[in-house]
């Protein structure tokens, strides 16, 4: 049995279970209802993409899952426990990498922050940092400051810092939204290979429909004002995905059409 | 009044109340502290007998005269150094050598040259005001959108026209910030000169009150000087907002 087939099987077996669950979650901020009665299940090991028009609360949903917000009513749970605080096994990759990195620390220093927070002993840090930098394709950039790096490199660095937490779940908030097309495609494939190998659960928010279908096992489209689920699609495209073959796959085109029509209907 | 507006007032009110109570309970007899009620009584009396108004007039006269002279010099030098890079480079060592001299160090020189009174105070205030004005005007002029300078050259404006029609208007918001900071410095220096040596104005008034062991009057002067400083600052901030909008305040913090 090939590795891929075995991974598929493992994924199928766990598909019934739920890792993160939104149960009638509602969030009001400053008198505005951002999210209302959201019911959403994230299964362990899956790659879930959330799309929607701007203002549909997709980022907010992610922040609820990260424990950065608490629901006004309803509940958001991780492994059955209510999420009240951020937890170490859940890492979040912010879209604005330029703001989320410490400008006064080098690349190595930024990764070290996560290791320091998890109380990794000093002598183990160097090797771990080096391995992480290699993993995200930044070997030899340990001593660079974020401001000396391109946008793509900064986002890789932020991903490396999140991986340093050794998370079981990765929450990604439009991580490639600010990058150019070529860089974005490269990073998409890298995130796929990094997370598939370690069977990390990923919740990936994006406004790019192609990206959502290309990456996801499942795509959820949110309706705006207030945010709730409008469409849910299972993506049965073969893995590993390929930038050319996958995007030309009839199923890809069919899903793309379906999702496109949905988004168009939500915009007025 | 909403809670958000009262929050800032709670701490000073609580402190004053505490001081008042403490002073009354302990029958405070002190050369350095007085209950707020006594301070405000002394302030009212000194306002009524015109001693504080006269001292305020003296201090503000020296402040504004020094500010006017110093900021005019600073503005002229700042524009000259900002417009002409060669001139700036030639003057660099001279400026860097004179600027760090603390203004108050000139006090004895001004004293033997000019004697006590307004003149020496004005000279020292003016010296202190030159530098922030010079430095900030220079950088304001230098950061004018280069396109504007190109336009003025394409229009073949003469140098004075260029300065009057492009440089000063473009740099004005930041120059006003410099002026506001200079005004604060001017008041501080004026009061400091009066406290140190010059027998006029609010600084001399507060020193006299201290020497007369009138804690209430001394603290009344302190409150009054604080109020003058605050009012001057507020006045200039309001003027700045009126003239240039909120955007001009953006570059305010270091």
């Amino acid at each position: 049995m090939s590795v891929v087939a075995r991974l598929d099987e493992a994924r199928a077996a766990r598909r019934q279970k739920t890792l993160i669950a939104f149960n009638a979650a509602t969030l009001r901020l400053g008198g505005k209802t951002i999210i209302e009665n959201l019911d959403l299940q994230v299964r362990p090991g899956e790659f879930l993409c959330i799309v929607g028009a701007s203002g549909c609360g997709k980022t907010t949903a992610l922040r609820l899952a990260a424990g950065l917000y608490r629901p006004t009513s309803g509940a958001v749970t991780f492994d059955g426990e209510p999420i009240t605080e951020p937890r170490r096994e859940v890492a979040i990759v912010f879209q604005d990498y330029g703001k989320a990195l410490l400008p006064w620390r080098t690349a190595a220093g930024n990764i070290s922050l996560a290791l320091e927070a998890s109380r990794v002993p000093v002598r183990e840090r160097g090797a771990r940092i080096e391995a992480l930098l290699r993993k995200v394709g930044l070997p030899g950039h340990a001593d660079k400051y974020p401001t000396e790096m391109s946008g793509g490199m900064q986002q890789r660095l932020q991903i490396a810092r999140c991986l340093a937490q050794e998370p079981s779940t990765l929450l990604m908030d439009e991580p490639f939204g600010a990058l150019d097309a070529m860089t974005r495609q490269g990073l998409q494939d890298e995130v796929l290979s990094l997370t598939q190998a370690s069977q990390t659960t990923v919740v990936f928010v994006t406004h790019d429909l192609d990206e959502a279908i290309y990456l996801g096992d499942r795509v959820i489209g949110l309706l705006p004002h207030p945010g709730r689920i409008g469409i849910e699609l299972d993506v049965d495209l073969p893995r590993p995905r390929d930038q050319l073959a996958t995007r030309e796959h009839p199923e890809f085109l069919r899903l793309r059409r379906q999702l496109f029509d949905f988004i168009k209907a939500t915009e007025h | 009044m909403s809670l958000d507006r009262t929050k800032p007032l709670l701490l000073p009110l609580a402190l004053m109340l505490a001081l008042e109570l403490w002073a009354r309970l302990t029958q405070l007899q002190s050369d350095s502290l007085a209950p707020p009620s006594a301070i405000f009584a002394a302030l009212a009396a000194a306002l009524a007998d015109l001693s504080i108004p006269i001292a305020t007039r003296d201090t503000l006269f020296a402040t504004f005269a020094g500010l006017a002279i110093g900021s005019a010099i600073g503005l002229a030098l700042g524009i000259a150094l900002g417009v002409s890079r060669p001139l700036d480079r030639l003057m660099e060592v001279t400026v860097e050598a004179i600027r760090p001299i603390p203004s108050i160090a000139l006090l004895p020189i001004a004293l033997i040259a000019l004697g006590f009174g307004y003149r020496m105070e004005i000279v020292i205030v003016a010296f202190a005001c030159v530098w922030p004005m010079l430095i900030m005007t220079r950088s304001a002029v230098r950061s004018i959108e280069p396109r504007l300078m190109e336009v003025s050259r394409a229009l073949r404006l003469s140098a004075p026209q260029r300065i009057a029609k492009v440089v000063i208007p473009a740099a004005l918001p930041r120059i006003f910030v410099a002026f506001r900071l200079s005004a604060g410095i001017a008041l501080i220096v004026a009061v400091t000169v009066e406290i140190a040596i010059n027998p006029i104005g609010l600084g001399a008034g507060i020193m006299l009150a201290q020497q007369a062991l009138r804690a209430d009057l001394m603290l009344a002067y302190l409150v009054w000087i604080g109020a003058i400083g605050y009012a001057l600052n507020m006045l200039l901030i309001v003027a700045q907002r009126r003239l240039f909008g909120r955007a001009a305040l953006a570059g305010d913090h270091p």
Partner: protein
């Protein structure tokens, strides 16, 4: 490029030398009474004489001591209090406005109060210098803490960092440019207040020296003292720049 910079520097020094020559000329021609304006030659001679007799060095050290003690005390207290106030929303709401209200207060006005409390003593000088120098540092620290990129606090939260770790690893480094700018301002304030306190209380230092020289109309000694005060301001500001360059190397990387 580099050679051009050196040439400009040399030209700039020559211009400064020209000003000194003009000063010498004015003094030599007695355009201004020598009682007020000694030539640079006499000022320099007074400086050398003052140092060789040891008087001036002692005064210089006196002033430096006043300045340094007051400034260090202000830095520690200012950063500490600023961090305390700046890192708490409640403190910012209740305390910060009062501090902003006090900001434009001419700090020298506190001198009479300090004299009333502590007399004409070293302790009074130290209190006044520290009190004056604490404001720029404390307000800059509060501002720096309030201006930390909110995203970084979220990063810290998702890493579950403790409050102490957040202050040490996120807020302080982020506020450091502001804090150092405040410390630089305070350095000037500390020098000025040192001189004023020395003048008022007759404490050993350059302030006292220039005042005595002025009273005795020893203008050369007076200028020597003023030159030394200028040099003190210059050297401390250079030292501060070096410190900033070292601590803020990451900002240079951005340019």
């Amino acid at each position: 490029m580099k050679r051009a910079a050196i040439l400009w520097r040399v030209a700039s020094v020559l211009v400064a030398a020209g000003f000194i020559a003009a000063w010498q000329l004015i003094a030599n021609l007695k355009l201004v009474s020598p009682v007020f304006l000694p030539g640079p030659d006499r000022a320099w001679a007074a400086l050398v004489r003052g140092f060789s007799s040891g008087d001036l060095a002692g005064k210089l050290i006196g002033t430096l001591e006043h300045m340094a003690y007051g400034w260090f005390a202000a830095s520690i207290a200012g950063i500490g209090l600023g961090a305390l106030i700046g890192s708490s929303k409640m403190m910012r709401a209740y305390v910060a406005p009062s501090l902003e209200f006090l900001r434009p207060l001419p700090v020298s006005a506190i001198i009479p109060v300090a004299i009333a409390m502590l007399g004409l003593t070293q302790g009074m000088a130290l209190f006044v210098i520290a009190f004056g120098a604490i404001w720029p540092i404390m307000l800059a620290t509060i501002h720096g803490f309030a201006a930390v990129e909110p995203r970084l606090y979220e990063v810290a939260r998702s890493l579950q960092m403790s409050r102490a770790a957040i202050i040490a690893k996120i807020a302080l480094p982020s506020a450091l440019p502001d804090i150092l700018a405040g410390m630089r301002l305070s350095l000037t304030v500390a020098l000025i207040l040192s001189v004023v306190c020395e003048i008022l209380a007759g404490l050993d230092g350059l302030g006292h020296w220039v005042l005595l020289s002025a009273r005795a109309f020893r203008s050369a000694d007076l200028f020597a003292g003023v030159i030394l005060l200028g040099a003190t301001g210059y050297v401390t500001s250079i030292a501060m720049s070096l410190l900033e360059q070292r601590l803020l190397a990451w900002q240079a990387a951005a340019r």
